[in-house]
Symmetry: C2
Subunit: 116 residues, 2 copies
């Protein structure tokens, strides 16, 4: 399970959770107001959670997920994927500079994978 | 991403996160005290997080994961798996009772999958 972490390179977990919840709500055609009623969360608080401005407690997350008929394990998978994508965008692989022997030209640094 | 939720059937997310963090720490041979120093979290608070008694903010979770050189996406995958396992244990599939035609015998209810 261990791996070099770059968690500080990507937006915080709550931003990714908020985005995933918002996507699920919109995909279901629910308004914030409908979901807030269904999950018994205030409209303002739900909106802040979706925008990644507030942390949702485990209980609140359960209530929101239940109202979205979305399982927490599936939400976590979605969030994991979105964080992983974000990290691979913001943390490119080590670059390889291609330099000619007489040092007159220096190609733009490229990803090792691109050069392979 | 949607699926019938049974999030209330399993322990809260923070319990699963706590357990996963504790497993990662122990797998690395770190003590609570070492990790608390490394992640700049008080010993008591870290212990409560590991036992699922306190929520870790996104910032705190980043700090703990960084100290464990564990990426948050990988932590979420682990937690998703553990919640999914828990849910399949606590929420067995609909049972199928096997009853003979003359009603003299009644087999123990079995899972549909087992009967198939």
């Amino acid at each position: 399970m261990s791996e070099i972490s770059s968690s500080f390179d990507s937006p915080l977990l709550r931003s990714h959770i908020g985005r995933a919840l918002r996507s699920a709500r919109i995909a279901q055609g629910q308004t914030l107001r409908q979901l807030s009623r269904e999950a018994s969360v205030s409209l303002g608080y739900l909106s802040e959670i979706e925008r990644g401005q507030k942390e949702a407690s485990s209980e609140l997350l359960s209530a929101i997920c239940d109202a979205l008929t979305l399982s927490i394990p599936n939400l976590l998978l979605e969030v994991s994927r979105s964080m992983q994508n974000q990290m691979s965008i913001t943390s490119p692989r080590p670059a390889l500079a291609v330099i000619s022997l007489d040092n007159t030209t220096c190609a733009t640094a490229v990803n090792i994978e691109d050069a392979a």
